[in-house]
């Protein structure tokens, strides 16, 4: 039997799961969280069980912004940050990659790679303009599905300048352009270009972008963004096959490389169990930490979020 490894990437917008064995990626899924992270994770686990009934997992790695929560639920062997996971995943598919542009739901990052290892990285600092959730919002405002947003941009012939420095300003500028009578596709194209410019000026500031360049993360599905990157950078942009689950694949690969002797994984059966997340305010000091209490059925699993280490 093959040794299979599970990677879970639970972020702000999506819950991605990948299963990797010696041959390569066996399973990869992308699902929107929509504010219910644990339920989404359980549903995804159910799907894996259906598709791969006799799967045995020998290692789990969690990543994404909710990695500590997930790690407690599934019983992870390794917890890794998003940057390392993404780089590991991409290097697996594009071994000679030099630059990784990753735009996710709430954060965007640039990772510079040399000879398969990360040499430099940057993440958006104080502003989330130009990330997936902003595009989502604008798609809803313009009455489009997020998936069709990019195709609409490709139909545009003209270049409309939108100020993309800040999410709020961009939105008012879009409204302004709408009032002035510009076509919808032109505005969308302008927005894509504004976001790319903002990304390059803000996140990729001062970084030398070298080919091959890989674009990934949920936003890579947007063809308008890919085209805008190609136009502005004048480079060929690669969007890999598993662009939106790269973090999860990377995590699974990290679990594989870690040579885990005995996994702490609690099995795919946790899909059927009921997890309760309770939060309360600790009143012992003026810090007033919000403590998250995670319990499985009636059994206590973990506390998260304390500053002083009292609830550990």
């Amino acid at each position: 039997m093959n040794r299979a490894y599970l990677g879970v990437d639970l972020g702000s917008v999506s819950c991605n799961i990948a299963v990797v064995d010696d041959k390569g990626v066996v399973y990869a899924s992308y699902a929107r969280v929509q504010g219910r992270p644990i339920e989404t994770l359980q549903e995804e686990f159910k799907k894996i069980k259906k598709q791969l009934p006799n799967l045995s997992i020998s290692g789990v790695c969690c990543t994404g912004s909710a990695r500590f929560l997930v790690a407690n639920i599934v019983g992870a062997d390794v917890i890794k940050n998003e940057i390392t996971s993404h780089a590991t995943g991409t290097v697996h598919f594009v071994p000679d990659v030099r630059t990784i542009l990753e735009i996710g739901g709430q954060d965007s990052k640039i990772i510079l790679v040399k000879d398969g290892s990360v040499v430099d990285f940057a993440m958006n600092t104080v502003c989330a303009a130009g990330t997936g959730s902003f595009l989502d919002q604008q798609a809803v405002r313009l009455g489009l599905e997020t998936e069709k947003f990019g195709d609409e941009a490709l139909r545009s012939q003209k270049d409309v300048t939108i100020r993309g420095r800040c999410g709020i300003f961009a939105e008012s500028d879009i409204i302004n352009k709408q009032i002035m009578g510009h076509k919808r596709e032109d505005i969308i194209n302008g927005l894509c270009r504004a976001l790319v410019r903002n990304y390059l000026n803000n996140v990729a500031k001062g970084k030398k972008i070298q080919e091959p360049v890989v674009l990934q993360g949920g936003v890579a599905a947007n063809k308008g963004i890919k085209k805008a990157f190609e136009d502005i950078l004048k480079m060929n942009i690669i969007v890999p096959q598993h662009y939106n689950v790269m973090g999860a694949i990377g995590a699974a690969l990290i679990a594989k490389n870690n040579r885990i002797q005995e996994t702490k994984f609690r099995g795919l059966d946790i899909a059927g169990k009921e997890f309760k997340v309770d939060s309360f305010e600790c009143k012992d000091c003026p810090n007033r930490c919000e403590i998250v209490k995670l319990s499985e059925e009636d059994k206590h699993v973990a506390y998260l979020g304390s500053k002083c280490g009292k609830y550990e």
Partner: protein, 356 residues
């Protein structure tokens, strides 16, 4: 009269020692909590820097804890940007909110004028005694900084990291209690003895990095979210470029120390920056270049505050330095909106990068 001080990390212990030597009653500052910052954010101008907000909140905490006089540091070092503002600003704001208090400022003036100020709170103070008191304060500050560095450099080797935190606590307590120079020396010896009991693995090879940035973020552990501790726990040896005692030696004109001893920083910084913009910027650049030239560190972490102009300029210079010397750089911007996860993810990734 009850005197108190804002934290600036552990530096307040030195100020406390000084004030006690003057024969005044002191109040220990309460711990910084979320409430402190919330108050600061609520009552300060929106675009003020994070330290201002913290300090405004801290003053309120001090006054609530029963202090009626606040001892604070002024600066006469030419590059001080806002340290004087830390008093006048919060005092006006708190005055409007109905808090009344007196202040004692240390530094920022010639010794004779300072003596006049201090005579108001401690009548009959002579110049000789005043100089001794200041010297004692600075020496105590040195001991505190020594302890911080000592623990930070022990932590990567220690097997039980929790023991290091305990050592820090007991060490600070010992230094706090020592009210004379011989006692300080004894305290240091005792701390070293305690440290020997901590089991450590000296075969480990921690990666040395330099933490630079603005005064407040480097000193105040609540503001930098215990970054030195976090780095030590994952096997990184953090050095820092900024010491408060240097600042006093430079600007205070006390004892044998003058400006000369810091000339080397200007020399090293000259390729990137020639004049100081604000507190510690040129020094940080000089120190970084020096450490990199001597091959002492393998990475730089730059901490700075959102809306802090001098540090924003500096961040560009650090980018250039990192490029020239081919070392990784992590810029951490913070503001009151900063979350713990935000910083932890970046530090974690940076450590992964360094270890490869």
């Amino acid at each position: 009269m009850k005197v108190s001080f804002y934290h600036l990390g552990n530096s307040w212990i030195a100020f406390k020692g000084m004030v006690k030597k003057l024969g005044l009653e002191t109040v220990d500052p309460p711990k910084i909590t979320r409430k402190t910052l919330e108050f600061g954010v609520k009552h300060s101008p929106e675009s003020a820097c994070e330290p201002f907000k913290y300090i405004l909140g801290e003053y309120r905490d001090l006054l609530e804890a029963g202090a009626d006089t606040i001892f604070y540091m002024e600066s006469s070092a030419e590059e001080a940007c806002r340290i004087p503002q830390y008093m006048t600003g919060p005092k006006t704001i708190l005055g409007r909110l109905g808090y009344k208090f007196d202040t004692i400022a240390w530094g920022g003036k010639e010794q004779k004028e300072l003596l006049e100020d201090f005579r108001k709170v401690s009548p009959g103070l002579t110049m000789f005694k005043f100089k001794l008191v200041q010297l004692f304060g600075i020496i105590k500050l040195h001991y505190i900084e020594w302890l911080e560095d000592f623990v930070n450099q022990l932590r990567p080797y220690a097997i039980d990291k929790e023991k290091c935190n305990e050592l820090m606590k007991t060490g600070l307590d010992l230094i706090d209690k020592a009210q004379s120079i011989p006692n300080l020396i004894k305290a240091k010896r005792k701390i070293k003895k305690l440290a020997r009991q901590i089991k450590s693995d000296r075969t480990r090879k921690p990666i040395p990095i330099l933490v630079v940035g603005d005064l407040f973020r480097i000193l105040e552990h609540e503001a930098n979210q215990h970054i030195f501790e976090k780095l030590g726990n994952v096997g990184i040896m953090p050095y820092r470029s900024f010491y408060l005692s240097h600042y006093y030696r430079k600007g205070g004109k006390i004892g044998p120390w003058g400006k000369k001893s810091f000339k080397y920083r200007r020399k090293f910084a000259s390729r990137y920056i020639n004049s100081t913009m604000a507190f510690g910027t040129l020094e940080a650049v000089g120190d970084t270049v020096r450490a990199l030239k001597k091959n002492k560190v393998k990475g730089i972490i730059h901490l700075y505050n959102f809306t802090c102009m001098p540090e924003i300029v500096n961040s560009v210079i650090f980018k250039k330095i990192a490029k020239d010397f081919d070392v990784p750089l992590l810029s951490l911007v913070s503001g009151e909106h900063e979350t713990v996860a935000h910083q932890d993810t970046r530090i974690e990734a940076f450590v992964d990068l360094l270890k490869k």
